[in-house]
Symmetry: D2
Subunit: 304 residues, 4 copies
């Protein structure tokens, strides 16, 4: 089995790379943070010297970077992946980026006889730690088969969503709904609080009707409603994803008035210094700004 | 067992009254539509001549009427329920109305030594037909015990949400979320369609994450996504409920920017003549107005 | 000249009635507040004992009341204006109310051979003090001629907008724009502040382009931008007018997404205790909530 | 007087360059479209061969390009302006771009002992034709003095808004308000139409109160209300400017819920194929989508 390049060892990238190492893949890693690189070396990875060298040595290079700017810097240009990789190489980009950037990468890859797979990550950092991530993959059938073993080593759920670009696009659709549910629940619970309703009684009813939703069932009772807003996924990151959603929607001429309202609510929360808490914490932000008592359930509460 | 008054035999009230008859309650019914009254007479109910007479004859009177205007007309005034009922009588209002109207009714009832229970209905008309409705009840403990046998005869799920007024308020919170989910799903699916994603693949992913929600799981695949927009609950009625939500939220000083955006989207749909289709059909309205292909799944499709 | 009834001597009604007295009209006044009645008596008005008596004595009755509830209480019912006035009498309602309530009043008046004129007031309380109000009038030609002398005594600008109901509807259109301009300017100035632009320089440019608007030119520099938020017209009242706008728009199936967003911003401001300041103060509310420095110009500043 | 470089001869750039030629400036021009270059040559300009050559020959280079992508391509890189210009050179960027891109250009210029002035253009293409543009300028005092003669040759109104970056930022604030006014007026007139009010009567009132605004006074009666939606400034371009506004506001943490609602309304208009008409035409788009009769005034109508 040939070497795998892995560029980007942040909060998500590092445990993903670690899982690859631990499951027997030979990794060449790279990151601006030397500590992260050393941690991976301890698990058996080698440290890449330059992007170009990694591109020459590895038939598959994984990127897990903050935004399309960094991905394009690493992929394009004279010192980048495409200019230095052999024909037939594959770039597996797992970052969450603008889908139009993925399209540009793919066009460039095609021109050089290479290919791109976009496979952004669902679920939280703690799932990545345990190798339990979910991936939304855009790839040709052949390329999907090539990356499947890597994805299986990093996660438990792999969706092949369509051709290149379909992974990132599906993630945007999915995260639009997930983030928006936080805001919808926040407004609903703010109303319930101001009405003076018992919060557990309101939750009970919501769980029993078509109003039930993943955020309200799974995330809220364990996080914001229990008074725990340490971040699984921050309001800042949710805002970044909504930024990609809004950008892509406007580029594609899709009116999304609710998305726009959610985006502004998260902007207000960030301006009021709530950016670094868990995104379920938008319920606290909404209530605090309107001087409504925060909704809380007893620790360990489970719907009857 | 004493007689029960039942005023309002519309699409919901008639099957509810029918269930009461069939389960042995002695009903005195009233409606502007003589056919509905005759149908109930065939099931053993008697026809009331006036509201005042019903109030005199029945210790419990059920109202199931279109809006707070009709409920207040029937309850208040010289010919109304309160002016003619005996002390200790109970008004069980099952209409969906402004919670401040419920508060006014309760204040008047208290003044006369009577009481009010608000118990609006969840679920759809076809559930009411089968006696499988869900009720959100606001009542004192004693009054809850008095109405419980009636509710059990009309439905399968009864939530005691708190004191008088809590039933209607809980329904507003619940319907805000349920209606809003339709709009959120509509925007998400419009984006998915414009992205050219395979709709079943998108649904599969959404079902597997915290983006999952009751409308997307239960209502959408059987209704709009299968091309069936015959109404279980119309866009017009969803708009009416959102109107109560917005009114109550502003009276209570709860900012709800997403509710406001949803309300406008339903207003546009109504202005464009989509008002009488099922509220899941907001997905078609959103797509049609933006010239996006309607999302469809094969009939009988079930997520894998 | 016959006597004029005047019911409602609040912050606006009292100076309006005073102007009528001072310009020679013989008034019979009524208000819950005895001080206001005495003040008018000092100016020569007589105090009416009941609404019915006023209706019997006066061919024209003016109402200036908080909402449609009070107007309908005074106009309808056995003790009301219509039941006691002579045929040919005229109700001049100058309150700002739901236009559908005006339509109901007019239907009842027609049935009795009477008529209604709706003439809500533009401009501020201090204009009313000086007899410089602006009126938007809905009336038949004949009725317009009958009320014109009264309006001329209370204000300087009278618009005959169309038939009965057109006055209130025009006021809603007008106040929608005026209130919304406050929010638009608030957002623009918040952006300017966060950008670190010099506020006078920004204003200068805005005044010189098609972005110029009445609120930014006239109200803002004298009020919020000079640090003066003592109310000419409060955020609470602006919110009430937006409530009528939203209600009427939804009844008429007019989607108004910007109106909806403004309404929520004012709701947030009220929930955060900004309700009693001048409506230009929404600029401070928007900036405070987002932790942006308030925009200010030197006292007495005039655009160059 | 030294030569002036001018890169970008589109609908705005060409007449601006022509005005410079006609008023005696020695221009070296460049554009992808050879016809535009030839037109300028006929007016005495010379054609530049490469960006680098222009940078070497001209102490001031003007750029008038579609977006930050093109401006950065021309300014940065080995073949760009900065790499080839002499110390002390000045880039006068008149494009409407993301202010953060202007900041990046300025940082690079400073590093090389050069400078940047941002001077985006207000008013329409026909004003540029007549040398009657308005400019919002961000520049140091010295640099402002250097570019002032050029700006005076192209326009009639020059605002020095502050340091580098202040020009573009002021333009965003200004265009946010101008574009939003179109939407506000659209909603107001839609409401007026549905209410059945006479449109000229409504306009008359709006003009006489603080609801008056530049778009409603100047642009609307000559364009959309007279049935003329040939573009001075298209809905597509207004949408592009709103995109910059939203992007900058979110980067700066300024919540702008009305901006967000306007952006979505323009997105819906574009999805429904109204993108290429004048931005006042949003009034027609709003009315058409909601099946409301378009508001129209007689040709040549002037408020009384």
């Amino acid at each position: 089995m040939s070497k795998i390049g892995f560029i980007g060892l942040g909060r998500m990238g590092k445990p993903m790379a670690a899982n690859l190492c631990q499951k027997g893949f030979e990794l060449v890693v790279m990151d601006l943070n030397p500590d992260a690189v050393q941690d991976l070396q301890r698990l058996g990875a080698s440290a890449g010297s330059t992007v170009a060298q990694i591109a020459r040595d590895c038939a598959i290079v994984v990127t897990m970077l903050p935004s399309s700017i960094e991905v394009e810097q690493v992929a394009l240009g004279a010192d980048g992946i495409f200019a230095n990789a052999a024909a037939g190489s594959l770039l597996l980009d797992m970052s969450t980026i603008d889908p139009l950037a993925t399209d540009r990468l793919q066009a460039e890859a095609l021109r050089r006889g290479m290919s791109v797979v976009d496979a952004p990550v669902g679920r939280l950092a703690e799932h990545a730690d345990r190798g339990e991530s979910l991936f939304m993959v855009g790839a040709s059938k052949t390329d999907f088969a090539r990356v499947k073993p890597l994805l299986d080593a990093m996660g438990t759920t792999v969706y092949h969503c369509g051709d290149v670009g379909a992974g990132g696009r599906t993630k945007l659709v999915n995260n639009y709904v997930a983030v928006t549910l936080c805001q919808v629940n926040a407004e609903a619970l703010a109303l319930s609080q101001r009405f003076g309703l018992d919060i557990t009684s309101t939750l009970q009813v919501l769980y029993g009707t078509s109003a039930s939703n993943g955020q309200l069932r799974m995330n809220f009772p364990n996080k914001v409603l229990a008074g725990d807003t340490t971040p699984g996924f921050t309001i800042d990151l949710a805002h970044k994803d909504m930024s990609l959603v809004i950008g892509a929607a406007h580029a594609a001429r899709v009116p999304m008035p609710v998305a726009a309202a959610v985006y502004e609510s998260f902007s207000l929360a960030r301006a009021s210094e709530y950016g670094r808490i868990d995104f379920s914490g938008i319920a606290d932000a909404v209530c605090d700004l309107a001087r409504i008592e925060r909704p809380r359930v007893p620790k360990g509460w489970v719907a009857g």
